[in-house]
């Protein structure tokens, strides 16, 4: 997969969201579900909308599908304004979280439904639905009812039912959410494979950051109805631009302003991935930041161990600051619970992030962290 080869500038956007806003409830009791969302999703992209529940990602998806009308803003599909079009007039299809298979129709009839509605001839739609079921490896179950299928099979029928219509964009609303872990991982691979084969733009809603990171070309991270950051999985992971993204995508040490000031001489919140930290047994290398502290917990995870460390002040007393470090298990020599430890990380591994804590919020503008530049200590 590697780095995203797709950037907004180079290719035609399949979906454009302009200033999208959605308000639910009455005037007296307004709930803003989505606010000021600008987004361009490129053609053929596997694009994920990632965020915790209630962050507005599903509402955005439903607005693209046409199930909800935006309170403000516009939706463009391949440059064409579809903001006010009904779902049946939009060339997009959806895979629903509960699959929404028609229980009174067989698997084959479910897959044929869209074609039948559009008036495709019987023999033609039979053939296409058959092929589609073949490609999701369900050809032999065509005559069954959805209730006779397993969860994974239903999910593949839902996928086939949507894809058989060859939409411009496929919308997936947490399609793997109801499956158990092993099946979910299998289907992640399969879904990605299908997407590569058909070349259709996928807009994928998930709250699972691992899923988003492993499958997507790009990710938009949602929080409180707004986009916190848009970028490739690597961007998002390595350079979270806000403390929310840093905390939500993977695990991060968020170093508060006071600690940052002490360590780097900069009065800003910094993010530091635990796996970038190493144990210092002898020398500290050039360009590394080094701290010392006391081990308060050791979690054994197999290849790795997770250490919880309380940092010392310069004068040797214990500060309140804690840090999480992921280190190779075989490097764990001379470290004991309650004992002293020294930690170090390359200076560029720590980045300033904007705080999205509403109480101390200074800015909601995504503040890009330059890969090379960072914020030197």
């Amino acid at each position: 997969m590697g780095e995203s080869t797709i950037t907004g500038a180079r290719i035609r956007p399949a979906v454009q969201l302009v200033g999208l806003r959605k308000v639910f409830g009455t005037a007296a009791n307004e709930v803003v579900a989505v606010d000021d969302v600008h987004l361009e999703i490129g053609e053929g992209e596997f694009f994920s909308l990632l965020g915790p529940s209630g962050s507005g990602k599903t509402t955005v998806l439903r607005m693209i599908a046409g199930f909800e009308l935006p309170s403000a803003g516009a939706i463009l599909l391949e440059g064409q304004d579809v903001t006010r079009l009904a779902p049946y007039d939009r060339d997009v299809n959806t895979v629903f979280q509960d699959y929404a298979l028609f229980p009174h129709l067989s698997v084959h009839e479910n897959v044929e439904y869209g074609l039948k509605v559009k008036g495709v001839k019987k023999t033609e739609r039979r053939r296409r639905a058959g092929e589609m079921l073949e490609s999701v490896r369900l050809a032999q179950l065509g005559s069954r009812r959805p209730s006779q299928l397993s969860g994974g099979q239903r999910q593949r029928v839902a996928l086939a039912r949507a894809l058989v219509n060859q939409p411009k964009v496929l919308l997936l609303d947490e399609p793997l959410g109801a499956l158990d872990l092993k099946l979910r991982e299998e289907l992640q691979v399969e879904l990605k494979q299908v997407q590569r084969e058909v070349g259709i733009t996928f807009v994928f809603v998930t709250h699972d950051q691992g899923e988003a990171l492993s499958m997507s070309n790009r990710i938009a991270v949602f929080n409180h109805g707004r986009i916190e950051q848009v970028g490739s999985p690597r961007d998002i992971y390595d350079h979270p631009s806000t403390s929310f993204v840093a905390g939500f995508v993977g695990t991060s040490n968020l170093l508060n302003a006071a600690l940052s000031h002490r360590l780097f001489g900069v009065d800003a919140v910094h993010s530091l991935r635990p796996e970038r930290i190493r144990l210092v047994h002898a020398e500290v290398a050039d360009g590394e930041t080094c701290v010392s502290g006391t081990v308060t917990d050791i979690q054994y995870l197999g290849a790795d161990c997770r250490l919880r460390v309380t940092l010392d002040n310069v004068d040797g007393t214990t500060s309140g600051d804690r840090m999480l470090a992921t280190v190779a298990s075989d490097g764990l020599v001379g470290v004991a619970l309650g004992g002293p430890v020294r930690l170090a990380w390359p200076r560029f591994a720590a980045y300033t992030v904007s705080s999205t804590d509403p109480t101390t919020d200074q800015t909601t503008d995504p503040m890009r962290v330059d890969f090379t530049g960072g914020t030197p200590p």
Binding site: G66, F67, T94, F96, D98, R161
Partner: protein, 304 residues
């Protein structure tokens, strides 16, 4: 079965009963089920047997009381005389027409209440649908008669009833009146199961249908109606059997001119000719059996 010591609080005899039932699960089950099973067997099945038996007795022509002499004459009369079969055919026609009309009215009505009306309005509308059930059956029958009364040159009130005086037209006291009044009476029994069925319908299915390109009417036809089949079948059991058995409303709104199966049974019973009345009663019984079997196939009983 876990053998836990009973927690305190129970008196000793109660504990004894508890223990008894815990040891002998079947005993508890028997105690629970005996009354309803007794009711089922004695009241329902035995009375059905009596009904069939009663149809076999000969009537004493002088006292008009059933004798113990057995005959098949009543059954032959009830089932082979074309005049009576004609009444049966008419009754089935009325019941079927009422059922179809109820369906045609109830479907959009229930759909509006369940999917379109605002949540606060929904409750009010359901109450409005149920409200007529609180009014007396006879009151409603005579109310229809009053509304349907045609204008007359010679009456005290020459304008006629509501329909005649307001719209200048009334179907009068005929078949249309029967069907209208019965449709009005039994409509709530069709609306409620369909409303419940719609309520159970996952909204994502409607989204999915629209998503796949179906316009609302197509969605209604291809998704909503097929999914409502069990509910419709359940509702139709009410409307069909209630219409088939009704005899007062037909009498009231047609001035006694049109007779349905229920009227035939009533007049025979009052003649009094109980054996023949029992034989006639086997007609609705058979029709309803057939109907129920048909509806069972459509899954009506999952929706009751």
């Amino acid at each position: 079965m876990s053998e836990r010591t009973p927690v305190g609080g129970h008196s000793a005899p109660l504990r004894g009963v508890n223990r008894l039932f815990r040891r002998h699960r079947r005993l508890g089950l028997a105690a629970l089920l005996t009354p309803p099973v007794f009711w089922l067997v004695v009241i329902y099945i035995a009375s059905l047997g009596l009904l069939i038996g009663a149809a076999m007795f000969r009537l004493d022509p002088r006292s008009h009381k059933p004798t113990t002499e057995l005959t098949t004459e009543n059954l032959r009369t009830a089932f082979t005389d074309w005049d009576f079969v004609n009444v049966v055919v008419r009754s089935v026609f009325v019941a079927a027409t009422v059922t179809v009309l109820c369906l045609v009215i109830a479907l959009p009505m229930a759909f509006y209440i369940s999917k379109i009306a605002k949540p606060w309005a929904r409750r009010g509308l359901i109450v409005a649908v149920l409200m007529p059930l609180w009014a007396g059956y006879l009151v409603k029958g005579y109310a229809w008669k009053a509304m349907l009364r045609p204008a007359s040159k010679f009456g005290i009130d020459k304008d006629g009833g509501f329909l005649a005086s307001v719209f200048g037209w009334t179907p009068g006291f005929g078949m249309v009146a029967v069907i209208l009044a019965l449709t009005y009476l039994w409509l709530p029994y069709m609306v409620l199961p369909i409303y419940a069925g719609l309520d159970r319908l996952p909204p994502s299915l409607l989204d999915a249908s629209g998503d796949l390109g179906a316009r609302p009417l197509r969605t209604f036809r291809s998704v909503i109606v097929p999914m409502l089949v069990p509910s419709i079948a359940a509702g139709s059991i009410f409307t069909f059997s209630l219409s088939l058995g009704d005899y007062i409303v037909p009498k009231v709104v047609t001035e006694g001119k049109i007779r349905l199966l229920g009227n035939l049974i009533e007049s025979t019973l009052l003649a009094p000719n109980q054996p023949l009345a029992a034989a006639f009663t086997l007609w609705p019984l058979m029709i309803i059996i057939t109907y129920l079997i048909g509806m069972k196939r459509l899954g009506a009983f999952e929706s009751l």
